[in-house]
């Protein structure tokens, strides 16, 4: 099972489109991509979760780790997600208060927070 990761630039943001299931096996790939972006100087990052079928605490841990990294550079990390099953995981864990969550990439890249 592979995790699909594509990176593109929209306005001043780096958008990562993620496809597949994020768990303990695939999460390191996302983590490496996020670290690479920050090390290249991208501090406003949008992670698009619309193509993600599954996410557990390992994936949440990676996103929290990336948030800490961009915050250290006064940056931002926002998410794009409209799927109820994925949103539910952010709600249960209280992370909806930590990550700005948008309904589309367009919305997320207009106003990075």
């Amino acid at each position: 099972m592979e995790l699909g990761i594509d990176v593109r630039k929209v306005n001043s943001c780096s958008v990562i489109d993620v496809k597949g299931e994020i768990d303990v096996y695939t999460a390191p790939k996302l983590r490496e991509q996020l670290i690479e972006l920050v090390s290249e100087g991208s501090y406003d990052i949008v992670v698009n979760l619309e193509g993600v079928d599954f996410l557990d605490s390992t994936g949440l841990g990676v996103l929290v780790g990336a948030l800490k990294r961009v915050k250290a550079h006064d940056g931002s990390l926002s998410l794009v997600c409209t799927q109820d099953k994925i949103l539910k995981i952010f709600k249960i864990t209280g992370l909806t208060k930590v990550f700005p969550i948008h309904a589309s990439v367009e919305e997320a890249t207009v106003s990075p927070q």
Binding site: E21, A27, S57, K85
Partner: protein, 139 residues
Amino acid sequence: VVDPPAPTVALEVPARPEYVAVVRLALASLGRLAGLDEATVEDLKIAVSEATTSAVLINQAAGGADPVSIAWARGDGQVVIEISDRGQGEEAAEVDEGELTGVRAGISVALLESIVDGCEVVPRPDGPGSCTRLFIDHP
């Protein structure tokens, strides 16, 4: 404490990250076969993924030779899933040292406890290790 019903499906997988998806998909299939609705199957997948990931990390910290054991049973109005590791009780601290798993640990417990109808961790009856029991109501 009432003993859970005898397992009807048993599965053993190597303690490696790539097998967490195998367990998740197998148990989701069993859930659908048992007639659980899709929302409950999604919850089951998360709970199974959390418990199996923890068991894989604990077994790896303990040397990695022992497989992770999974048992599935349908009891009286509920589904019972048992996920067992072979930890000696000292691995948890070691597991939490890495960045990838450090943040995960706290989130995992919160997620697991709120997504199933019941959850308990008991010592393995057959020697060292812990068994995480997940209960999902299925009237």
